[in-house]
Subunit: 324 residues, 2 copies
Amino acid sequence: MNELDLIAKLTSSLPTNSSVIVGPGDDCAVLDCGKPGYYTLFKTDAVVESVHFTKEDMAGVGAQSKNFPTVSSEQIGHKALGRCLSDIAAMAGKPTAALVTIGLPTDFKPETIERIYVGMSRLAERYGVAIVGGETTRNPGNLFISVALLGEVEKSRCILRSGAKDGDALFVTGELGGSRFGKHLDFEPRVAEAQWLASHFSIHAMIDISDGLAGDLRHILKRSNVGAELLERAIPISRAAKLQSRAESSAKPPLLAALTDGEDFELLFTVAGKDAVPLLDAWKKQFPSVRLSCIGRITAAHGLKLRDKTGIRNLEAHGYVHFA
Amino acid sequence: MNELDLIAKLTSSLPTNSSVIVGPGDDCAVLDCGKPGYYTLFKTDAVVESVHFTKEDMAGVGAQSKNFPTVSSEQIGHKALGRCLSDIAAMAGKPTAALVTIGLPTDFKPETIERIYVGMSRLAERYGVAIVGGETTRNPGNLFISVALLGEVEKSRCILRSGAKDGDALFVTGELGGSRFGKHLDFEPRVAEAQWLASHFSIHAMIDISDGLAGDLRHILKRSNVGAELLERAIPISRAAKLQSRAESSAKPPLLAALTDGEDFELLFTVAGKDAVPLLDAWKKQFPSVRLSCIGRITAAHGLKLRDKTGIRNLEAHGYVHFA
């Protein structure tokens, strides 16, 4: 049994109760906790040394020698909370309170932990999130940081993965690919953008891109029971993915990087086709510095297809399956 | 800087917002999330292989050879959720929904993880708790399980550590000491008892005993700005602590075990002195099989004292400081 099979098995028969609106399988759990007109969003996410960052990352050294930008403990804290914020954003939610669990390795440095907290606290303050405690324990082999985050969303504005409809236009924020060359540690979660989207347009389905565009789009397609057709020339490819492709012959071609690299933390969403142009116009006025691209459409026919100048083909390339 | 200093430093200046009623430093964080008449309780707790259990524990083998009762993966799952339930109980709350984060070591066995989930799910079902997702990631060195739990409590019935008053009677449920000989893996969190207490009596302060009676009582004393006097002969010592003391000359004397062993997961609470006898009478009718002991009283004078037949002395023995 591989890890994905295990997760599928574990989550197939979990205990539930009447407060649960959406259990496992969307960006956050959605609960009705009794606030009139609102749902509660509940999410945990972990970053682990040697999986999501390295000892050298923590020290802010070493990375440069590998031609990566300098990264630091503050950025690891930023990433740990930022990942959860991105999931709250994917449901158009407002984040409210976080608990932080840190597993300390035997040789931990107090300064490192303090700096991780500085990175988390700065990001939390920017989004009005309270850090209300947590736990510090030992974890002999490596540093382990798990963040539990609460948020809320108006019931009528909560956006799931499951609402995409035939004919919807498919949008993505920002640029994709090459996140590991820096963005995965200093991305800005799209909390404000998602709230604006939900309050101005009828967004049918939304997800944040953590597994790569192709992989996360497949999550929407599966939950919505539809297919999609992507327009190759419309996919926004990041400068990092292009540069890397030029610098290293073994690197992914830029389009493949944009389709399959993980940890972009951008929003992928669908709206009715008729809303596509008004949305693009309004977005440009509201967020002039954040790119928004219409990259294709939802189809009744299942499967994921890519259209380029030569025609249309099935997209076999699977999204980067990260283990988390 | 040791770990406790680090935690004190980290939690001294965390970001907050208007929803926070109680931040770090009590059994759970207390939030006002907008449900009329209720507070939300929010808690995370982790159990870690080689810190809170061993590889042999997981297999349900080896333990017997060390003269421990057999323990198993199910019990590890039970403990992981049970610890959080015990914290919700300590505020007289009702647990509602949990997220589970599991860090898998390189050599993890899928059956072990499934059995851990069985243990958690059984306990969750018993208390009406929904398990609404979580995350599975890698943790190269060892298994790491973190549970995030939500609960709720009527505003007027939420019990903090900070409400103990001079003259209060001090009570403890169950029996103390020697938890590591089995109870730490199969304790029943005192959720029902705590809710009953809060709905029938004015409980001034409450905590669950995870660090040992002396250590956790000191938490109440510090938050309430009072002292306490314990009555030696009234402290309920577990059979496990007594047996162990007889079996091994190097073991703690039973009283010391009851004062300083960790992970009893019993409730320690205070009520006005006038309520002590009515409470004992009502408890006996409600929970005939759960021992309740009046073990001393709260004093205006600071410090923790122990009264025995020879007189009264300062209790220097510190509670078992577990790192969590």
